[in-house]
Symmetry: C2
């Protein structure tokens, strides 16, 4: 009710996450990195012992992974890592494009001027990073752009779904690593056009441009095949 002028920042994202959260990320990374091969069985007990924790957090992580579609649990029989082939990755990419499109549409309606200015700042950073050919900074800026836009929707379901899909995105890069070689200017132009649509408060245009951007990006990275399936 009080505390309006205390000159301290809140603790910046403590790294002491819950064991369930850590187990979730650990297992997720193991799956997308190929350490946990598709079809391999994951026992709650043995995995708990391997991680040095109890079985409950592991179970919790497995349930979340199941909802993400990364593992499949047969009741009273076992949990196995799901097969994630190229075609499945392509499907998830199209789902991601659709969801990011909706996020852009919602953001165009609700986004505040401050957040809009923040995005403009990021696009400016992208411009200089592109000129300097700084791929690492560009990747981070790209992530922030999408994260801020999604957060601006204020929709938990949307944010969590896209967060789950982002993990698969990492898996796709294993097949076509070394991305963002020469299409950096194209990505910059796309982000700028999306920002313009957001500024114009045009949901349909923002959605179309965002969707096209994601699909084009996935196509460039080799996740999606042909330039067919036009938006």
């Amino acid at each position: 009710m009080s505390a309006g002028a205390i000159p301290v920042e809140p603790l910046a994202e403590e790294e002491t996450l819950s064991l369930g959260e850590r187990a979730y990320r650990r297992l997720r990374d193991g799956i997308v990195q190929g350490t946990l091969r598709p079809g391999s069985r994951i026992s709650e007990r043995s995995m708990a012992h391997a991680l040095g924790i109890s079985a409950q957090p592991v179970r919790e992580a497995l349930r979340r992974l199941e909802q993400d579609g990364m593992v499949v649990t047969l009741p009273r029989r076992g949990t196995v890592v799901a097969e994630i082939g190229p075609e499945r990755l392509a499907e998830l990419g199209r789902i991601r494009a659709a969801l990011e499109g909706v996020a852009a549409a919602l953001a165009a309606e609700r986004m505040s001027g401050e957040v809009l200015a923040e995005l403009a700042q990021i696009v400016r950073g992208m411009r200089s990073a592109t000129a300097a050919a700084d791929t690492e900074a560009l990747a981070e800026l790209n992530e922030r752009f999408h994260a801020i836009l999604q957060g601006a929707t204020g929709n938990l379901f949307l944010v969590k779904s896209l967060e789950a899909l982002r993990a698969y995105d990492d898996l796709g890069r294993l097949r076509a690593l070394g991305s963002t070689p020469k299409d950096m200017p194209k990505a910059l132009r796309e982000h700028a056009s999306i920002l313009a649509a957001l500024k114009a408060r045009d949901p349909a245009l923002a959605e179309a441009r965002m969707r096209h951007h994601v699909l084009r990006s996935l196509t460039t990275n080799g996740v999606l095949a042909a330039p067919r399936q036009g938006r």
Copy 2:
């Protein structure tokens, strides 16, 4: 490896679900039906005692509900029911429309002839149900139509996401109950046109029609407002 001609059917979906699953549905229904008001706190222990079970299944249910966006948990502080206003329902409706559209596109590419025939059978049932003005049968057929189509994609993530969104759908009907009064013929025509696109193996067309159908349906039910935001 054997057993090719045993004249018995497998046990039809035993109703003995896990406690976690039952707690999840119970809490979810409580939220969408208004028994658990937005902002009210849900304690793992007290809820477990109220349901006559242990705290673990309740916790598991709460985590799933959190991923669905129905509750929000502050670590070490408590879990409260999230606010779900009309604008949030509208957002979720648009997300659902986008996801069902992607499902239709994927189905148009992968769907087998048998499943296609099954859908055709359902549409035929819809035709007669519409003629008989049997709203109850029509609702069930509609649910089966979408469920079969989504299942035909074989995408776990898509299916589970849409399943979660379906729960919100029930919440929307509380505000505008007594739906499907006169738009039955329109829904029938839309389903038939979607089926035609699926038969033609036209992903883009199937997606556009499905999306339009869902948006139109939500608009008729009052979940979405204006006929704006044109696909």
